[in-house]
Amino acid sequence: MIMRRIRNQFFKELEQFQRDRLGVALAFILPVIALLIIGFAIRLEAKNIPLVVRDLDQSTLSRSYIEQLYATNLFVPAEWQGVRFPDAIDRGTAQVQVTIPPGFAADVNAGRTGEVLVVIDGSDVINARVTQLAVDGVTLSAVQRALGEGQLGELEQFAIVAQVRLWFNPGRQESLFIVPGSYGVILAIFPPLLIAIALVREKEQGTILQLYASSLSAVELLLGKSLAYMLVGLGEAVLLFIVGLLLFGVRFIGDPIPLVIGTLIFLFTGVQLGLIIGIFTTTQSAAVQAIGTIKVLTAFLLAGFLFPLNSVPFPFSVASYLVPVRYYIELCRDVFVRGSGWFGTWYLIVAMVLLGIAEFGIAWWGMRRMQLSS
């Protein structure tokens, strides 16, 4: 009996959804376009940082220093014709300026310290940090070379070398990081949006009152609607996985079962949040703003999609643990890149289950309250 009611509600919801053909097409095409844009465009590895160099020394040593700088592949020479040198950063034509003062090589050869002056535009911290590290690296290797061939021949020894190996993604292929993450971001946004709009529309049109009048209980209503939009979300997920495989070569590694279960649970948590927003907002414009603020912003910024969450300070780090996308993104990265199977993913699924139950509780409570009040 209960099952049948849930099933009826499920089919009713799908029937209503598929009536707007263009809407259905958009619900499936827009996530794919979003994946393409994110996958092809976003690069976290720094490149093309505009650099101006003023070599006042013009020695072999200074030239090799500059060559080494360009060899990091981070910089492109900035155009600064007509701009006085010290203004290049103020003008925004360069983000880094390197000055090698006269007498640099002479200082080094005489056993004194040759200084390189570097000014970095700190208003762009991402580029600035990478630049700092690169300049430090170039300087340190210059130090080692100078020590090796110069003043302290025999002390070239005592060199500890760290053999660094990057696992799972040795080529530092960015799509392996960005694409699985974007599955989480996209699936966090679209299914909750659809269900929230559907619920608020029923409220605005007053058709939800008929449901209250019927013998349908709050749990049945919630489950019926949830399952319908989870199915839509599942369709979107499969489509995203296929496009990710065909265009970005992102394939399953290891056991796909955690992904299947994790995806279903993640869609459930997302749809519950959509329901909660739908229940507590009275107009579609408020519901959409809520989705925009809560889902879009947290998915982009609070889920470790781009930057790691290791260094988030205390009270705010708690907030990130309450975001299901965080766990799902981690799950996707594991399933598509690392492939550690159940061992590395079970706790992510448990966390999502707990959040899902809590959300379902809130939705149920809100729905009961709403039914009683009307």
Partner: protein, 374 residues
């Protein structure tokens, strides 16, 4: 007479907007709270990477090397496995972000041959973090080598560091991430709010058929359009000012440039967002389509506008596309004014781009709107 009617219309629209309490809350309080949270959370630095340490040598010098790795909070000593298999497994299962293996022959090799190797493995899923981490590993070991040299160097001939780079960070000497991200987040929030609020509010009128009523009245369609744009823009401008105050207070964000120009271009940007929202509403048939397109459009605008990632690192095609992203130009202006204190002579190009955008988007949405009315 005309002005009087326009004024009356604006008042009508404003009261309608303010009547939607939930929407007002999502357009005012929610943005400020999110800005503060994301200002603390977003951090492009790599810190506290969990390091699994396998020191098979266990002598003074190997312990010193371990200390050097964990001294500056890039790495955090997290686990001490007993074997290489353990360590491998910990990184594979995501329990550690990196592993350091010091072989048992470490100190012997160093003394006998002057050279010694340690192995570092880094979870390379995130190309950005692993790149930075790799740079830090090189910096740490090179520095360690230099310290070692200085220790063994006889006191009579103190070792001079042959090359040193003196790095200054202009505009942001403390390299505070928040100074970069907070303007970005403000731009993101304004984009989301303006586009979504305008799109949904405009399409609501279409759905309810109140547009036809407006048509009966003797007001020009331009006046109707202006009355739609002004109240939402004004509300968002108030939000923006509150965001600035909160950013000043919470992050000591500097306001170095011309505040009037800042205000002018901020209002211009909000109007562009509102105009885009209105245009979306005229292109779609119903609310669902409007909302889907509105939310979707935010994804590329936000992610490709340089709010949280560096535009210069994107592939060439997308660097060109960034030029037609109003958020990109607004953020350049916003950061230039706030952090650099730079004037129009530096960012005039972006100012012109924004004026062109404002003209085009307002004309398009005015035109579409008029056709829709007619």
């Amino acid at each position: 007479m005309l002005n009087h009617r326009l004024f009356a219309l604006i008042i009508k629209e404003a009261t309608e907007l303010l009547r939607n309490r939930q929407l007002v809350i999502f357009l005012t309080i929610a943005p400020i709270i999110s800005m503060v949270i994301f200002g603390y959370v977003l951090n492009s630095n790599v810190a506290n990477l969990r390091l699994s340490i396998l020191d098979q040598n266990q002598v003074a010098i190997s312990r010193e090397l371990v200390d050097a790795f964990t001294a500056n909070h890039v790495f955090l000593a997290n686990r001490y496995p007993h074997s290489q298999q353990d360590l491998t497994q910990q990184v594979e299962h995501g329990q550690a972000d990196a592993g350091l293996i010091i072989p048992s022959s470490f100190s012997r090799d160093l003394l006998e041959t002057g050279k010694s190797e340690v192995a570092v493995v880094i979870d390379g899923i995130n190309a950005y973090t692993s790149g930075l981490a790799k740079g830090y590993v090189t910096a740490i070991t090179t520095q360690f080598n230099l310290d070692l040299l200085q220790q063994v160097q006889p006191l009579s001939t103190p070792l001079n560091i042959p090359v040193r780079s003196q790095i200054t960070f202009r505009y942001n000497p403390g390299m505070l991430d928040s100074w970069f991200f907070v303007p970005g987040v403000i731009g993101v929030i304004m984009t989301l709010s303006a586009i979504l609020a305008a799109a949904v509010e405009a399409v609501r009128e279409k759905d309810q058929g109140t547009l036809e009523q407006l048509l009966m009245t003797p007001v020009a369609s331009t006046a109707i359009l202006i009355s739609k744009i002004v109240p939402i823009s004004a509300l968002l401008t108030v939000t923006l000012l509150m965001c600035f105050v909160a950013a000043r207070w919470a992050f000591q964000l500097p306001f170095r440039g011309n505040l009037l120009l800042l205000l002018f271009f901020s209002i211009l940007y909000i109007s562009i967002g509102v105009a885009i929202g209105l245009a979306i509403s005229t292109f779609s048939k119903n609310k669902l389509q409007t909302i889907l397109v509105g939310i979707f459009l935010n994804i590329p605008i936000i992610l490709l506008g340089g709010a949280i990632t560096a535009v210069n690192s994107m592939p060439l095609l997308f660097r060109w596309i960034a030029q037609i992203n109003p958020l990109y130009h607004y953020l350049v202006i916003l950061r230039s004014i706030l952090l650099k204190g730079a004037g129009l002579e530096v960012w005039w190009f972006h100012a012109i781009a924004m004026l062109v955008f404002a003209t085009v988007t307002l004309l398009v949405s005015a035109n579409r709107y008029r056709n829709q009315l007619g």
